[in-house]
């Protein structure tokens, strides 16, 4: 059997590992658009703020692929998939056959429709190349605008601030971190960000960017005086890399639609990670998370099923954690109350906030701003959310009771 994996990120690597742990005979080919061995996207901001050295970005060495019995094709894009002939066309014109295929091509950042935005000194923080470019642009005293206030945007802002740039954040929506924090958490974090000297503007509509001959960028926003900066970092969300599937019978809808076995509508063709829309813990059938943990899980289940097994996925649970502006920020599941939800918020001063959201006593999500121990609490809560178990006593849980719900024990 010949398995071809497209993508050298969290999903692709996790699938390769799992597959090889079960099937030691089949031929494995990895095709990656990026030029070198795998690096960790999660770590890029940690390098930019000099928390880790450059070499720690790399999570695979060339010999790791060899050890796994994988033939890598780095720096190569797939231009077409032909399910009917079980083959791929590469951008250099070559054709590769496969018995089974995993598409784990990931996503790429989206450039919002702002006039004049595309051009020099406007970057994302997504790839290794973006990071290297930002690294040279991060000179003390320079002025940076961060467009967007999601996880990556704010980590970029923190890195820039730590490297002594003057940083401003523009968020289109009325509050920061709209998909990671609830309103209270966002307000507390914004206060924290501002204490670090970063200016945050919410509900601001950026309309146009002008470039001067000297490279200064003038940013025009609705009802707001123009802002002059030296660089712009865009963190306005990502889009799946599915263009090469145009005209193929593989079903897509803002991502590749997969079932609980990570299989697409075409038998033998699977998808995983940011590019895939799969089931969630809450019963949704097709959802994109574009999160590292979801990609790892997708890859693991896909890798297992690609060997011929038939193992269903229990569904992804969105979870986020990072350190930013000296505080731990974490969230999981449904952390904004919906109808029928109750919540259990705990707040101790401006630097500690923890809220557990429940539905009929079953935890459905949580959000935390504070220390590492809050991430530990969310970790302990995760099996309860996932297995939909009633938590007998939230106060007790927070004090360390209820080690594990029944199913996991």
């Amino acid at each position: 059997m010949h398995l071809v994996v497209i993508g050298n990120g969290a999903a692709g690597l996790s699938a390769l590992n799992r597959f090889r742990a079960i099937d030691t005979d089949s031929q494995l080919t990895l095709i990656s658009a990026e030029s070198g061995t795998a690096y960790s996207r999660v770590l890029l901001p940690y390098y930019l703020r000099r928390k880790i050295p450059y070499e720690n970005l790399f999570i695979r060495r060339p010999e790791d692929y060899e050890k796994l019995g994988v033939r890598p094709e780095f720096g190569m894009r797939v231009s077409r998939v032909h399910p009917e002939t079980h083959s791929l066309t590469l951008e250099d014109g070559r054709s590769i056959g496969f018995d089974r295929l995993l598409i784990a091509t990931g996503s790429r950042p989206f450039l919002p429709p702002v006039e004049g935005l595309a051009g020099t000194n406007v970057c994302h923080l997504w790839t290794l190349r973006d990071t290297e470019q930002l690294d040279t642009l991060f000179q003390p005293g320079r002025r940076a605008l961060v467009l967007g206030s999601g996880f990556i945007a704010l980590q970029a802002a923190w890195a820039a601030q730590q490297r002594d740039l003057n940083v401003t954040v523009y968020e289109l929506l009325p509050r920061i971190m709209p998909t990671i924090l609830d309103e209270r958490g966002a307000a507390l974090l914004q206060q924290r960000v501002e204490e670090h000297g970063v200016e945050v503007r919410t509900a601001i509509h950026t309309e146009r960017v002008d470039r001067s001959k000297t490279g200064v960028l003038t940013v025009h926003a609705k009802n707001h005086p123009p802002l002059e900066v030296d660089l712009i970092i865009v963190g306005a969300g990502v889009r799946p890399n599915i263009e090469f599937l145009a005209g193929s019978p593989i079903r897509t809808d803002r991502g590749i639609l997969i079932d609980e076995y990570m299989q697409t509508n075409v038998p033998g063709i699977y998808a995983a990670g940011d590019v895939a829309r799969g089931p969630t813990s809450f019963g949704e059938t097709h959802q994109t998370h574009a999160l590292w943990p979801t990609a790892v899980e997708h890859g693991k289940i896909a890798g297992e099923n690609l060997t011929g097994r038939h193992v269903p996925y229990q569904g992804s649970l969105n979870m986020n954690v990072t350190e930013m502006f000296g505080i731990t920020v974490a969230s999981m599941g449904k952390f904004i109350e919906e109808r029928g939800h109750s919540s259990h918020p705990v707040e101790n001063g401006p630097s500690h906030y923890l809220k557990i959201v429940l539905r009929e006593g079953v935890p459905v999500g949580a959000v935390a701003l504070g220390g590492a121990e809050d991430a530990v609490i969310l970790g302990r809560l995760r099996p309860w959310v996932r297995n939909r178990r009633r938590l007998p006593d939230v106060e007790g849980f927070l004090k360390g009771r209820y080690l594990l719900p029944r199913q996991v024990a």
Binding site: T322, E323, G379
Partner: protein, 161 residues
Amino acid sequence: MRIVAVDPTSCVACRNCEYACAFKQTGDFDTKASNIRVNFYPEERVCIPWTCVHCGEGWCMEICPAGAILRNPETGAVEIDAKRCAGCKMCLLACPTGSIHFDKVELVSKKCDLCGGDPSCVKFCTSGALQFVEEDEAYSFRRESLDAKLIRLFGLTKRGS
């Protein structure tokens, strides 16, 4: 592999295990540094020391975006390489039993590494509550009365039931 097994009926909550663990790591007795933690449940009159059980498919190990969590081939322990850890805390969110902690000085995650195969907590346990035994033996010295207490306390159920 062998893991640190706990018999809470024997635990007298002396917290020697915490002191031993902290001392082994830092040369000091500040139990905040300990990877094993004794949990007290006064109403049930139970105290339970708890540390990593080195899961077969450690979710922390699979999820670590830095490739910093690996299994020690000799001891079987799931270990964090502090030189590779970026301090992203994803493992803290991944561990269902809260067995990974954060080193606030080094800003990296840390956890039990079985002291290289000779765990200090077991060595200095005063009551025999901690034992370094093969995994399948780890649950054998649970007793009926204790099981009842645990079920009440954690909503646990026996394996397979």
